[in-house]
Every structure is written in C-alpha cells, then in structure tokens.
Symmetry: C2
C-alpha cells in the first residue's frame, strides 16, 4: 500500500473514530457509575453542570454545582469507613436532541459499613437530564432519584 | 383602511397567533395541573405518550400508557370520597430542544378525605421529560416524583 492510499483510508476512516452522541452518553454513564462506586466526589462533581439541580427524596431541591458539591462533601464526611461495593445503573430510553439528552434507569447499590456491620442494599430509580456544555461534554442538568423495589428472581 | 392593507396586516400578525413551544409547554402544564385537581384520569392519560414511564417512590417503574392508565384507575378507585382541593406545580428550567423538552418543579397538594377527616397536605418535587408526538402535542415520556419539604415562611 503506498502512502497516498493509506492517507485516503485514514481520512475516510476518521468519522468512525469520532464518538457518536450515543457513545458519549455511554461514556458519561460509565464515569457516573465509577465515581459513585469510588465515592470520588471530585469525579462526580466534574459531571455536573454549573446550573444543575438534584432532586432527592425528603430534601428541598439542591441547586447549583457549588451547593451540590458542598452537600455531597457533607454526606461523604458522615460516611467515614463506609464503602460502596456495588453500583449498578441500568439506563433505558436514552434520548438525544441537539445539546440535550435524557435517560432513566434502575439503580442497585450495596454499601459496606465499617466494623463488618450488615451491608445496606438499595434498589432505586433515577432520571437524568443532561446538557452538552461549551466544551462538548455532557453534564447533569437535573438528577432525580427515588426508592424502587427489589427485582423478582428471573427478571 | 382598505382591504389590501388589512390583508397585509393579517398576514404579518399571523405568527403572533401561532403558539411558541414555550407557550405550548405552559398550556401542557395547565392541563396537567387541572387533570390532577379534578382527578380526571382520562384527561391525565391524554397527556401521556404511548411509551411513557412513570417513576414513583417505592414502586417499580410503570411502563406504557395502558399500564399507567390501569394503575391510575386503581389508585383513584381506592380514593372514593377523596377530593384534591389544591394542586400547585411550580415548574422551573423549562428546556426545549426540537421535539424534546424537560422541566422540574415543586409540587404542593392538599387532599380532603371523606367524612371531614383532616386534610392530607404533601410537598414534593417532580421532573418531567416531554416529547412532541406526531400530531404536534407535547406528551409525558417520563415522570418522576419524590417527597420534598414544606417551604419556610417567606420563601
């Protein structure tokens, strides 16, 4: 193969290497899951839009990235010795329209408290609205969660 | 004013009468609130997409308009004599991108049980993802709700 043909093939192939919006959301979902699993607040907050809002059960809306970061630091500070051992987010119906996207999912979390206390296992549901920021990255504009039910065996 | 001038003015004015997507969402929100206030299940279900999903606290996801309608009929059948006397949905951050839209809000509901029992007052939060259907109407694709807190006086 001479150089010019190789060059042509490279140019033709280039679009294959550009992530599709769907791939970008899949990558976002992986980061979102990993950040929770590792209780890495900086990594979690890197996924939030400046004007994001989280809507959590029994709380007033927490508005703005800085306010959410402060709240999250407080939560994790109160969980010294706790470890997230399982974090599964099974997202459905990913919809992308321009710079906006949405997806909902079933969540399953297992937390190991310190001193070999019994694990805390939680099933829930999540709904995310994402917005692509000026740098092209998908960020959380709205997050909502509530409790779900333990799936029946075989489902 | 001669006829041709009137005709020109009419043509120029026409776009004013076409609802903007933002007005359409406002109209959707009004219908959504009224249907809940009147406990009118048919009116509520007219606002749902065929493939809509509702994500309610403590329940598995309820998927599909027919399944949601059946569930809602069961809920209302169990509330004979109950009346919704207040339904306030204060929606924020309405975002529209093509045929998709999202909004979150604070909800406040007062329900009067039968036999002059004490009212049930609920503050909550809601997140909606809307999709414009083939007929151009906005329909609920995803709905999620969870409990909030009673606003402090003066807020």
């Amino acid at each position: 193969m001479n150089y010019s043909v190789f060059r042509c093939l490279t140019l033709i192939s280039l679009p294959v290497f550009a992530a599709s919006p769907r791939d970008e959301i899949a990558s976002f979902n992986q980061k979102f899951r990993d950040a929770t699993l590792q209780m890495d607040n900086a990594a979690t907050m890197a996924l939030w839009a400046e004007d994001g809002v989280t809507l959590l059960p029994g709380l007033a809306p927490i508005e703005g990235k800085k306010t959410i970061a402060r709240w999250l630091d407080g939560v994790v500070a109160g969980l010294a010795g706790y470890r997230v051992t399982t974090q599964e987010n099974d997202f459905h119906d990913i919809q992308i329209s321009g710079d906006w996207a949405s997806e909902w999912g079933a969540t399953h979390q297992i937390v190991q408290p310190p001193d070999r206390k019994p694990v805390i296992e939680t099933w829930g549901k999540i709904l995310l609205v994402l917005h692509r920021d000026a740098d092209g990255a998908w960020k959380i504009r709205e997050e909502m969660w509530n409790a779900g039910v333990k799936p029946e065996p075989g489902r």
